[in-house]
Symmetry: C7
Subunit: 94 residues, 7 copies
């Protein structure tokens, strides 16, 4: 598995199927990027200038809303992931 | 519900109905974005470089004035929200 | 009333009436914006990276000189206010 | 009087009369702005991220050299002042 | 051997052979740079503003995913290395 | 005399006479600015965010090499000085 | 000798002679600048915001690899040196 570093988290993006009025499924390029994801791994936290480690608020399994275009896309063992910093997470759903 | 992270808050925007002299209700694109909102959720606070968590001044239920264009718009279960950082809040009304 | 957050203050601008040589009162657009104001509310102070709250030097009722173009204009219950950060205040008059 | 905030100081600029070879006094726009001033008021000091107040090195009455173009010009009771941050002061004369 | 300083690490890039549909091996310029590497040396850690040394999370021998284009390429004794800061490491594989 | 503030120092520039092959002394505009100077005064040191004063390494009388184009030129009682921050000093000679 | 300040180091660049296929030695302008050097002097270390001095990892005599184009070139008593900050040093060789 992938283990993110510091204040990074790894998510799988949740993409709802989108159709046009006539029912045609749109290719990725024709719609906005999704903003929702499921957390699959979290880092151990960032270290402050005081040398203290601050644990993440986000936990594995959380569904989150994140800033559009944030993070780096990674393909690992056939699955697409997005590696974000926790500061790119806007809110936890639930 | 949505749970904001760190020093973020979630608000619902309060939009007063605006009419032209002739009484026509203007579409969104024809007026300035509102600057008032009602807080529906607050994060647990930011962590300083000293590793200390600083609780937010803003509380759920507060009516606030915020910086125009600040934040990220999110639609959740049919309602539009705005996710802001507390630093985008100018003042609490009340 | 409006309650500013952190190191913000709310002021009412003091505008002296300006006349041309011929005695005509100039509209706003024809003169420089005022740089003097009266403080009507102050925040509880900024929080340093050490987690300490630093109270403001400026107090309600103070007359101040502030940086031209600083702050955000807000209309509240028919009155125009300006919300500034204390760092935009150059000096207290008196 | 004006009371500067934080690490700000208020100075009166010292302008030596400048003449051309033919003895004509040059208007302001034809010479460089002065870089010397006399301190008329000092703030109580800046507050570090540690929450500690650092008193200014500059004292009322000091003659100083400051960075050209630094500060904000203010007219108060008929006199022109310049409000600077102490960091714009290069050296004390004397 | 090379000994990286502070929060730097040295990696060897892992490049999978890439072929076109017709089986031709593509030259480097025709494909994206790899994003996977094996850690061959790590620094002793960064020093915070508090004067504390923070050890790296990444260890020698780790396989990592790193930000594309990060780091500096170095050729040493015939081998190509990449020197990165730990903050350029997105995740550890395994 | 001039007393520099904080982490500033005052130097006199040391300019070696430069001649062309034919022995003509070049005017200032035809050569690079000098990078060597003699320290004539030093400030009391910078104050860290921790509120601690850090004394300068450079002492009065030191010959130094400094970053080309750094600092502010000041003419005082007929002599040209350069006011630098200690961070513009590259090395002490001797 | 030159004594570097703070977190600066002084190095002599190590330039290997480069020849074209036909054995012609290339002039400097036709090759990349070297990235290897020998440390001839080190500063006493940087001072953190906490007021603590952090000694350098690099020692006199070390052979280092440094960031291309980093530092300032200085000629002293007929020898060319490069003054770098330790943060420009990528790795120590050996």
């Amino acid at each position: 598995m992938l283990k993110p570093l510091g204040d990074r988290i790894i998510i799988e993006q949740i993409q709802s199927e989108e159709k046009t009025a006539s029912g045609i499924v749109l290719p990725d390029s024709a719609q906005e990027k999704p903003q929702e994801g499921k957390v699959v791994a979290v880092g151990t936290g960032r270290v402050t200038e005081n040398g203290e480690k601050v644990a993440l608020e986000v936990k594995e399994g959380d569904s989150i809303i994140f800033s559009k275009y944030a993070g780096t896309e990674v393909k690992y063992e056939g699955t697409d992931y997005l590696i974000l910093r926790e500061s790119d997470v806007l809110a936890i759903i639930g």
